[in-house]
């Protein structure tokens, strides 16, 4: 039974094939083309047909009248992807597929740097991520070297070269010891993107105050407040003076002004006075007249 069916199919195919071949058409396709480049598709056979080029990125449709080479001008297919080609006539269909690959030359960078502001002296505190695109905004998936460069006003430069994988590359950089505006540059060939990263002083370091008699009161004044790298902590940073006497406590918050904080208080003989800024403790003084 199975053999008889196979014979039947074989005979039918042998009878119909010459007609299909005579009326049908076929085409030869490129295996792949670069996005935006010109290409051609050659068709053979006779009879009117329609050529469809179908992809999620683009659709083309052409009438084909007779055996001919169809030329597609530069820019006809520019979205990278997998495309099906279908040559369809009244009684025949020929199909094939080909790829449109991104252009090799980078034309755009998507560069994101984080954060835009951070304290000095943080290891791997700054991150940068890059996606590399061609002129048609196709992600270039071929490995491409990306140069990351972080420079600060003092002239210190950190540089890394990272090769993209699937169009993406990323890096981490240290924030330097110097406060200031850093330039973070990602470069691929002639294309570059620049982001600005502000490095601000860290927490106060070695916070110290002195106490002086001032009339009937006591003047408390800090040294110039700096972070551990010697950067001046910005004015407005709150410094807290705390007086402890006989089991009771009173505090005064004072913003830094011209790099220092000072306050005049009425205190008791034998009181303990301490200074702090945020979580950073400074020195402690026992007030004796």
């Amino acid at each position: 039974m199975r053999l008889r069916w196979a014979l039947h199919v074989g005979v039918m195919a042998a009878v119909t094939m010459p007609f299909a071949f005579a009326e049908g058409r076929s085409m030869s396709l490129p295996k792949s083309i670069e996005a935006g480049s010109s290409f051609s598709i050659q068709t053979t056979g006779s009879g009117h047909a329609t050529l469809y080029i179908i992809g999620t990125g683009q659709i083309l449709k052409r009438d084909v009248q007779s055996e001919q080479t169809l030329f597609f001008a530069p820019g006809s297919l520019y979205n990278a992807g997998h495309y099906l080609a279908v040559l369809s006539g009244e009684s025949f269909t020929d199909t094939g597929s080909f790829d449109v690959v991104p252009a090799i030359k980078p034309a755009n960078l998507s560069f994101l740097a984080k954060p835009s502001r951070l304290p000095v002296g943080l290891h791997d505190g700054i991150t940068g991520a890059v996606y590399v695109f061609d002129a048609y905004h196709n992600l270039i998936s071929a490995p491409t070297p990306v140069s990351f460069e972080l420079s600060n006003p003092s002239g210190a430069v950190q540089k890394r070269i990272v090769v993209t994988r699937d169009g993406a590359a990323w890096t981490e950089m240290d924030s330097t010891a110097q406060q200031g505006i850093d330039r973070f540059v990602a470069r691929v060939g002639e294309i570059s993107g620049t982001r600005v990263v502000e490095q601000v002083p860290g927490d106060p370091c070695g916070l110290k105050m002195i106490a002086k008699q001032s009339g009937q009161q006591v003047l408390l004044v800090t040294d110039a407040v700096r972070d551990c790298n010697g950067n001046a902590v910005p004015d407005g940073t709150i410094v807290t003076f705390t007086e402890t006497y006989n089991g009771s406590q009173s505090t005064i918050d004072q913003p830094l002004k011209h790099g220092m904080a000072q306050v005049t208080i009425s205190t008791h003989n034998g009181a303990m006075i301490s200074v702090a800024s945020g979580v950073v403790m400074g020195n402690q003084i026992r007030w004796e007249k």
């Binding site: 329609t50 990278a80 369809s88 996606y131 998936s141 990323w170």
Partner: protein, 167 residues
């Protein structure tokens, strides 16, 4: 952490879009080649995969019905622009396309250090039916590799780059 894992599962996502997209695709996910400086939480990974697969449903419906307005919740940026242009070309030419995804072989390949983008590759197996003025011209089975970049939005990850790549 989103440990490397391998799943073969049947999509249970509701077919929000296409009435004809009744069949369900098999999905396989790997994270073995992930390049990232920050750990990818399992919940994040699952959300990204869920939203990406949902975007295929939307894509299918939009290309079948030639309705670019369907794309907005799931596509953004160049992916949305590209698909909108494709739908416009289809409309002008009297064409519509019915995509039916059969299988997805997904890899999460990049998670940006700021957590603001995730890149996937998908070896997707699908059928595509081409209709010219409502007349079916052909149905083809295809296997293609896609590179996808998603970025977070208010309630979901949206596809920002959706690009076929050589296998």
């Amino acid at each position: 952490m989103f440990r490397p894992f391998l799943i073969i599962c049947t999509l249970l996502t509701a077919a929000a879009a296409s009435a004809s997209a009744a069949a369900q695709a098999t999905v396989r996910v790997e994270t073995v080649n992930l390049q990232a400086s920050r750990p990818l939480q399992e919940q994040t990974g699952r959300a990204v995969i869920r939203d990406y697969l949902q975007s295929w449903k939307i894509l299918t419906a939009a290309l079948e019905q030639n309705r670019a307005d369907l794309l907005a919740p799931n596509f953004v940026g160049s992916a949305k622009d590209m698909l909108t242009a494709t739908i416009q070309q289809q409309t002008e030419l009297g064409i519509s396309t019915r995509y039916q995804d059969r299988a997805h072989d997904l890899q999460i390949v990049f998670y940006s250090p700021d957590g603001l983008s995730i890149e996937l590759t998908d070896k997707v197996e699908y059928d595509v039916q081409i209709l010219d003025h409502g007349r079916v011209k052909t149905t083809q089975h295809a296997i293609a590799r896609y590179v996808i970049v998603l970025t977070p939005a208010e309630v979901r990850w949206r596809v920002r780059v959706f690009q076929g790549a050589p296998r």
